[in-house]
Structures are given as C-alpha cells and as structure tokens.
Symmetry: C2
Subunit: 305 residues, 2 copies
C-alpha cells in the first residue's frame, strides 16, 4: 500500500494495518481493498463509481469501514455510495476521507452518500476529514449525505474536520418518518485561508420524530466558516439545533439557522453563539502557570473534544 495512503487511513479511519470485518478502501478513485462479511455485503455500483453496502436485517455490533483517500494532486474523485440498512440492524459505519497533494495541483474528493435505514435500524456514522501535503494545490472535500429514516430508525453522525482541508462544503439532507431520530455532532476547525461550509436540511414528516444538530467550530487565521441549517417540522416532532463558534485571530463565522414549524405540535429550538474565548477563562488557566497561548490551546481542545 502507498505510504501516504496508509498514513491518511490511520488518521481518518483508525486503520492499524488492517481492518476487521467489512471494508472498502478507495484510493485515487479506484478500489484498494474490499471485504464483505456474512451479514454485510459490499458490491460495486452498477451505474458508475461507488459501492452499494447491504446490511442484513438484525445485524448487530459490526463495523463497516469505507475510507477514501486521494494521495496526489490532479485527482478529482467523485463517488456515489449507497447504504441499505435492514430492519433492526445496529452497526457502525466509519467513512473517513483524506486528501493529499505535494504539488500545485488540487486533490479533491466528493463523496455522495445515501443512507436508507429500514424500520428500527440504527447507525453510528463517523466521518473524519483531513488534508495533508506540502504542495500549494488545494485540498478539497465536498461530502453530500442523504438520509432516509424509516419508522423508529436512528442515525447518529459524527463529523470531524480539524485541519488541512482548504475548502469543504458539506451538505446533509434527511427525511424522518414517525419515531425516527437524527443526531448530528460536527466539530470543525479552520485556519489560514481555509473555508468550510455546512448545510443541513432536515424534514420531520412523522409524528414523534426528532432531530438534534450540534455544531462546534473554531475559526483561526483568516479562515471563514458558514453554518446553514433548516429544520422543518411537518408533524408532532421536536427539533433542536445549536451552533457554537470560537473566533481566533481574524476568523469569520456566519451562522444561518432556520426553523420552519408548519404543525402546531412541532417544537423547534435553536441557539447560536459566536465570540472569542472569554478573558476570564484565559486568566484562570494562566494563574495555573500556563502561557496565554497554552491556555488558548487548552480551551480550544476542550471545546472540540
């Protein structure tokens, strides 16, 4: 395996030389390894680039790894992955993505992921994004996540992007049937002239459905972040979104959350707070012997933990 790919895999998907269970490794637009298991079948998509992952009803305790890497400039990888999760299954899907360029050319990965969760299925979906390399070429990742949750289904999505990605635009769309639940936790740190855009659109169609969007971001240097969300309540449902952002240096954050309640039994709440680290927090850590910079790093690390 290419050494850069291996480093990226370790960083974004807990790769330890091998994966246990079902996996598909995507490298520069090709397949660098695949394994199905008794309950999880991974096939190539007939219509074009990408895979189809079938998770049998009732599958429990298994993890599917589907990391994707671009290890050189001049590659724009576009892939469509579909996940069919059978009734009552409860699995973890790890979908890290790393892009690397050592030259002037852009390294780019666009993953379009569709999740179809059957009745009472549950998925923990982890997505870690990383850009590396010494080149001036742009490191870019634009993930799209489309989620359809059947009755009682639940998706928990953890998204982390802590550095090195010059540009990212992540779009997440979801439709929730009765009793379905979506939880999204995202942690994003940008620096330099990086730009990161997040765009959520969640439609609660079924009674007793619920969504929770939790966004934490740190914008350093001259970086720019944008948080957009729209939560639609069309039924008896609950929606909560919160967006907390810390500004450092000349970072800019733009938060645009929207709530649309068109059912009298929809309860929607949003909070957003943008600002720098409070002076007293820094002061408290300095009295413990830390320098101002150390105190700041400590607070940011805790915030993004």
């Amino acid at each position: 395996m290419n050494q850069i790919t291996e480093e990226l895999l370790k960083a974004v998907s807990d790769f330890k030389g091998e994966f246990k269970g079902a996996f598909n490794i995507r490298e520069n637009g090709g397949c660098a390894g695949r394994q199905s298991t008794e309950h999880i079948r991974i096939e190539s998509r007939k219509e074009g680039p990408g895979i189809v992952v079938h998770i049998m009803p009732g599958t429990k305790g298994e993890t599917v790894y589907i990391p994707a890497c671009v290890n050189q400039g001049g590659i724009h990888d576009l892939v469509y992955n579909d996940f069919y999760v059978g009734e009552g299954a409860d699995v973890i899907i790890v979908a890290g993505c790393g892009v690397h360029t050592d030259d002037e050319e852009e390294a780019r990965h666009d993953g379009i992921h569709r999740f179809f969760l059957e009745k009472n299925a549950h998925v923990l979906y982890q997505e870690k994004h990383l850009g590396t390399g010494k080149g001036d070429g742009r490191k870019r990742i634009d993930p799209v996540t489309d989620v359809a949750l059947a009755e009682g289904a639940g998706l928990e999505m953890d998204t982390v992007q802590l550095g090195g990605v010059d540009y990212s635009c992540r779009k997440t769309r979801a439709k929730l049937a009765a009793n379905a639940r979506l939880i999204v936790r995202e942690r994003i740190m940008t620096d330099g002239i990086e730009k990161a855009v997040t765009d959520f659109d969640v439609v609660m169609e079924g009674d007793n459905s619920g969504v929770e969007l939790i966004s934490r971001s740190v914008a350093r240097g001259n970086s720019y972040q944008e948080f957009k969300s729209c939560i639609h309540g069309l039924a008896r449902c609950t929606g909560h979104s919160s967006c907390d952002a810390i500004l450092v240096d000349n970072g800019t954050v733009n938060a645009m959350p929207a709530l649309e309640a068109s059912n009298v039994d929809a309860e929607l709440i949003h909070e957003a707070a943008i600002g720098k680290i409070a002076g007293e927090q820094i002061l408290k850590l300095r009295t413990l012997g830390l320098t101002e910079e150390e105190a700041q790093e400590r607070i940011i690390a805790g915030f993004l933990k």
Copy 2:
C-alpha cells in the same frame, strides 16, 4: 375629521381628539393636520410625498406624532419620512398606521422611514399597525425603517401588529457607530390567512456598539409568519436576537436568523423557539376555573404584553 380616520388614530397613536406638541397626520396620502414646535420642525419633503422632521440638538421630553391612515379601499399610499435628530436630543416618536377598507379594493400603506441620529441622541420609536373594515379588499402595510446611529446614539423601537393586517412585510436596516445601541421589540399576531414577514439587517461598525432584537409572535388560523434577521459584527460589539413564536390552530412560523461575526471581538448570540402552548400551562389555568379557550387567550395575552 373622517370618523374612520379618528377611530384608526385612537387605536394606533393614542389620539384623544388632539395631539399635544409636534404632529403630522397623514390621511389617504394627504396631510390632515400638522404642527411644529419650538424645537421640532416638520416640513414637507421637497423631492416628493412625505415629511422631514428636524429635532434640534438637546431637545428633551417631547413627543412627535406622525400617524398615517388609509380609510378606504383602492388607495396605495407610499410615503418617505426623514428624521434628523440632533446631538443629545431625547424624544419619543409615535408612528402608528391604520388601513381600512369596506369594499373589494385593497387599502395599502408603505412608509419608508429614515432616521439619522446624531451623537448621543436617543429616540423611542413606537409603531402600531392595524387593519380594519368589513370589505374583502386586502389590508396591507409594508414599512421600511432605515436607521443610522452616530457615536453613542440609541434607538428603541417598539413594533406592534395584533390583527387585521392581511399582509405586512417590515424591513429594518441599521448601521451603528461606536457606542451606539439599537433595541427592537416586536409583537405580532396573525390569524386567518394573514401573512407577516419581518426582515432585520443590522451592521455594527463601531466598537462597543450593541443590538438587541426581541421578537414575539403568535400565528393562529392558517396564518404564516416569517422572521429573518442578519446581525453583522464588524467591530468589538455585542449582538443578541431572540425569536419566540406560539403556534395555534394551523399557524406556520419560519424563523431564519443569521449571525455574521468578522471581528474576533464580536459577541453574537441568537435563540429561537417555536411551539404551541405547553399542556401544563393550560392545565394550571384550568384548575383555577378557566375553560381551555380562556386559558389559551390568557397565556397569549401575557406573551404579547
């Protein structure tokens, strides 16, 4: 004075047969009365329909009434009013607006108000909107408020629309210099097929400037409300917006608040909550002997007080 106009004036601007102090009454696009005082000069605008109000520096404790009425269908009144408030002045401006139609024709008033507050000037601006009449013609009010606050200036704006207006779109734009402060409180109730849109855009350009937007709304029947706001922090500043909405029947509320912080010392916060009246609140009042309807009305009245 036309009886409908008199009723509208009483309802929207505390008219008691006469006004004390400076006033200008606008009726169906014409002037139905005007008075200047020693410190407050009201003139017709040379460029077209509307008035220019000059408030001398240091003027204190005076109230200016500038109500506008449309008392019949088929009238679309468009007016531009400018307010120049001198340094250190502290006054109240009452700008109620009533539209009435008894036929099929629309009664419509568009007031474009520009406020120029000099250093340390302070204005309490009250705006009450009302639609009346038995006609099928639409009652429509679309106010635009443009505010420029010089150093240390402050504007408090109270907007109330509690019924009868079929369509309203209120746009409020403000720019704040150092130490300037803007407070907006709006209370809006819609019913039937009424539609009300609120759109704020506030730019804090000066250090230590601050804005507070407080929106409370009730959407009943099949009515629709939209709350948009964008708070831009370009300096060391604080911004807070909150949007609370109660849904009754089939009311719909769409809240789209945005925060943009492009200065590390900008502190911006937003909260929004949309939902129906909590069951336990109703229950509590019912144990005190109220019917469910009475309990609901009591809670709504308190919320919009």
